[in-house]
C-alpha cells in the first residue's frame, strides 16, 4: 500500500469511477451517500461516472467507456474477465494517479471467479444458447493481478462509511482508518452477543475482514464472509469449528465459495473440510 499520499489536496481533484465485470452495486454505494454527496462534490469533481451520466446529449463524450483522464482518484469496480478489460485496466491505471479497487469483484475476483474452479466452456454451454458469441477469459481475476493498486476496499457490496472514509482520507493525505482484523471486533464493539457461543450458529466472523459493521450477527445470522479474509486467518481452526457447529463438508466448501471464492487465503479450505471429522476440534 502506498502510505505517502502526497500533500494535502487543496485543489478540487478529479474523480473517476470505472466498471469491469460486476453488478454495479459498489458504484451505486457512491450514489447512496445521500447525506455526504453534496459535500463530496464540492471537494472532488466527479468527472467520469457512467452510472450518473445520461447516455445521450452533451455529456455523451464524457461518458465514453475509456474516459480520457488524467484523474486524481479512480474507483475501480469489477474483475477482469475479458481480454478487452485486461487492456482497458492498463489504460485506467495509466490515467489514474491514485487507484482504489471497490468491492469483492475488484479485490478478489468476485462470485464470477467460481469459473476458476471449473471449465468455463461448460458454463458457457449450459447458460448461453449460442456460446460461440461469448468471448471470455478462463478466469476472473482481481485488479491487483493486472496493475498496481493503491488501496483495496472490501465487501459485497462495499460499506458506504468506508467509501467516504477512503475518499476523505485521500483528500486529507492520511491513511484510511480501515482495519484488517476480524468481524468479531465489530460484534463486540457494538455489543452483539456472540451467536456461535450463545446459539451454536455457524459464523465466519472470526476469519472475516471487518468493515460491514457486523450486520448479520446483529440480526442472528452467521457471517458469510462477504468482506473476504481477515489478516492471516486460521482457516484450519475455523473449518474445524464450523464442522463442530454442524456444517457438512459440502456446506463448509460452499460457504467459502462465494464472493471472495478466489481469495488465496481460502485455497486450503476444500482439503481442510475433507480432513475434519464431525466432532469437537482437537
Amino acid at each position: 500500500m502506498v502510505t505517502d499520499l502526497g500533500p494535502v489536496i487543496r485543489t478540487r481533484p478529479k474523480l473517476a469511477v470505472w466498471k469491469f465485470a460486476s453488478c454495479d452495486g459498489c458504484q451505486l454505494t457512491l450514489l447512496d451517500c445521500e447525506d455526504e454527496l453534496l459535500g463530496l462534490t464540492e471537494r472532488v469533481r466527479i468527472d467520469h461516472f457512467l452510472e450518473m451520466t445520461p447516455a445521450e446529449g452533451a455529456d455523451r463524450e464524457r461518458a465514453q467507456l475509456d474516459g480520457r483522464g488524467p484523474y486524481d482518484l479512480s474507483l475501480v469496480e469489477g474483475s477482469i474477465t475479458t481480454a478487452e478489460d485486461a487492456e482497458r485496466i492498463q489504460h485506467v491505471r495509466r490515467i489514474s494517479r491514485y487507484l482504489v479497487t471497490i468491492g469483492a469483484c475488484a479485490t478478489a475476483g468476485g462470485v464470477q471467479a467460481l469459473r476458476n474452479f471449473a471449465d468455463v466452456d461448460d458454463f458457457l454451454a449450459a447458460v448461453y444458447a449460442r456460446p460461440e458469441y461469448i468471448a471470455t477469459l478462463e478466469t476472473s481475476t482481481p485488479i491487483s493481478a493486472h496493475v498496481p493498486v493503491d488501496f483495496e476496499l472490501r465487501g459485497c457490496p462495499i460499506d458506504r462509511r468506508q467509501l467516504i472514509e477512503v475518499i476523505t482520507a485521500y483528500l486529507a493525505g492520511r491513511r484510511p482508518q480501515i482495519s484488517h482484523h476480524s468481524v468479531c471486533f465489530e460484534c463486540k464493539r457494538r455489543g452483539t452477543t456472540c451467536i456461535t457461543v450463545a446459539h451454536g450458529t455457524p459464523c465466519l466472523g472470526p476469519v472475516t475482514h471487518a468493515g460491514c459493521g457486523a450486520i448479520c450477527p446483529a440480526y442472528g445470522r452467521g457471517c458469510y464472509g462477504c468482506f473476504g479474509p481477515s489478516s492471516k486467518p486460521n482457516l484450519r481452526s475455523m473449518v474445524a469449528q464450523l464442522r463442530h457447529d454442524g456444517m457438512s463438508e459440502r456446506d463448509v466448501q460452499r460457504v467459502f465459495r462465494t464472493f471472495n471464492a478466489a481469495s488465496p487465503e481460502y485455497a486450503p479450505v476444500p482439503d481442510l473440510a475433507a480432513e475434519e471429522r464431525q466432532g469437537p476440534p482437537a
Binding site: 502510505t3 505517502d4 494535502v8 492520511r174 491513511r175
Partner: protein, 272 residues
C-alpha cells in the same frame, strides 16, 4: 495529569533537510508552552488531520529557541511532517517517557553509539556533555549509517571533533568516501575503552543496539552502564493504550531509554 487533553498548538519556525528522506523541524509555541524536555524524552507530534507520531527531541533549543525534531518519512504522518513549511501549525504534547540517565554518566567516560537516525535522540546528550565537560570524562561519539548519504548532522558531527573523539562508518561507501566502512561496532576497536569507567548510550535499529550492547559487555562494561533507547508502536504515550509493551515494560513510561541490564534477556525473545 489528565490524559485526554488535546495537544498544544505549536508553529514551525524552521525546517531543513538532513538526508534525502529525513528532515528536521524546529517548533515554537503558538501560545502556552510545554514543560522542558530532557535528552531522550519524546513528544507526540500531531499533523493536522493526518495523525500523531512519537518523536524524540533532537535538540532542546534550536536557532529560534524552539524544540527540534528529526523525522524520517516512513508513513503518512511522518511524510506529512516532512512536508511542513515555516509558519505551518502542528499539535505538540509531551515531554513523555524516561530520557537518558545523564546523572549516572557524571564522572564517567561517555561513549555514544548511534546508528542512522538513532543519533537524533543522542544529539541533546552530546550538547549537554559538551556544555558541562568538566563534569564528565572524555566523550566519544561513534556513528554508523547505511551510506554516506544517510548520515544525519554531518557538519555538526565534524564540529564536535575538537572536543570529542568522533568516529564515523558506513555500511556501503560511495565514491569519494574516505572514512571507515563496516558496522558501527567495528569502531569500538579504535577506542582505548576504560570499561570500568565508561557509561555507554546506544540508539539505532534494534539489531544494531543488541549487537553493540553485547559487544560492550564482552569488552567489560557492566550491563547497567549501558543505556539503550527502544522503539515500539505508541498511540497514547501515557501508559494507557497498551501498544508499546516489551514484556514487563511499557516503553512510553518505563522507556524509551532503559538500562541494558533490564532488557538484555527480553531482546533475545523472538516477537516479544
Amino acid at each position: 495529569m489528565s490524559t485526554v487533553t488535546p495537544p498544544l498548538p505549536y508553529r514551525v519556525a524552521g525546517t531543513w533537510d538532513e538526508t534525502g528522506d529525513t528532515r528536521s523541524i524546529e517548533l515554537v509555541s503558538a501560545g502556552r508552552r510545554l514543560p522542558p524536555f530532557a535528552p531522550g524524552q519524546f513528544a507526540m507530534i500531531y499533523a493536522f488531520g493526518v495523525g500523531e507520531v512519537p518523536v524524540s527531541a533532537s535538540a532542546l533549543r534550536g536557532r529560534h529557541g524552539g524544540l527540534v525534531h528529526t523525522v524520517r518519512a516512513v508513513g503518512a504522518v511522518s511524510a506529512a511532517l516532512c512536508r511542513l513549511r515555516p509558519g505551518d501549525g502542528v499539535g505538540l504534547s509531551g515531554p513523555y517517557g524516561t530520557g537518558w540517565d545523564l546523572e549516572a554518566a557524571v564522572g564517567h567516560d561517555v561513549l555514544i553509539v548511534a546508528g542512522g537516525i538513532g543519533l537524533a535522540p543522542l544529539r541533546p546528550v552530546v550538547h549537554a556533555v559538551l556544555d558541562r565537560q568538566a563534569a564528565y570524562g572524555p566523550l566519544a561519539v561513534l556513528v554508523g549509517a547505511r551510506t554516506p548519504a544517510d548520515l544525519v548532522y554531518r557538519d555538526e558531527i565534524e564540529s564536535w571533533r575538537g572536543q570529542a573523539r568522533v568516529e564515523v562508518t558506513v555500511d556501503r561507501p560511495a565514491p569519494g568516501w574516505q572514512g571507515a566502512v563496516g558496522v558501527v561496532t567495528t569502531l569500538l576497536d579504535r577506542l582505548d575503552l576504560r570499561p570500568e569507567r565508561t557509561c555507554a548510550l546506544v540508539c539505532g535499529p534494534e539489531v544494531m543496539m543488541r549487537h553493540s550492547a553485547r559487544d560492550l559487555v564482552t569488552r567489560g562494561l557492566a550491563p547497567h552502564r549501558i543505556q539503550v533507547s527502544l522503539e515500539r508502536n505508541m498511540h497514547c504515550a501515557t501508559g494507557h493504550c497498551g501498544h508499546c509493551q516489551l514484556g514487563p515494560l511499557l516503553l512510553c513510561r518505563d522507556g524509551p531509554v532503559v538500562g541494558y541490564d533490564r532488557v538484555a534477556d527480553l531482546l533475545l525473545v523472538r516477537e516479544l
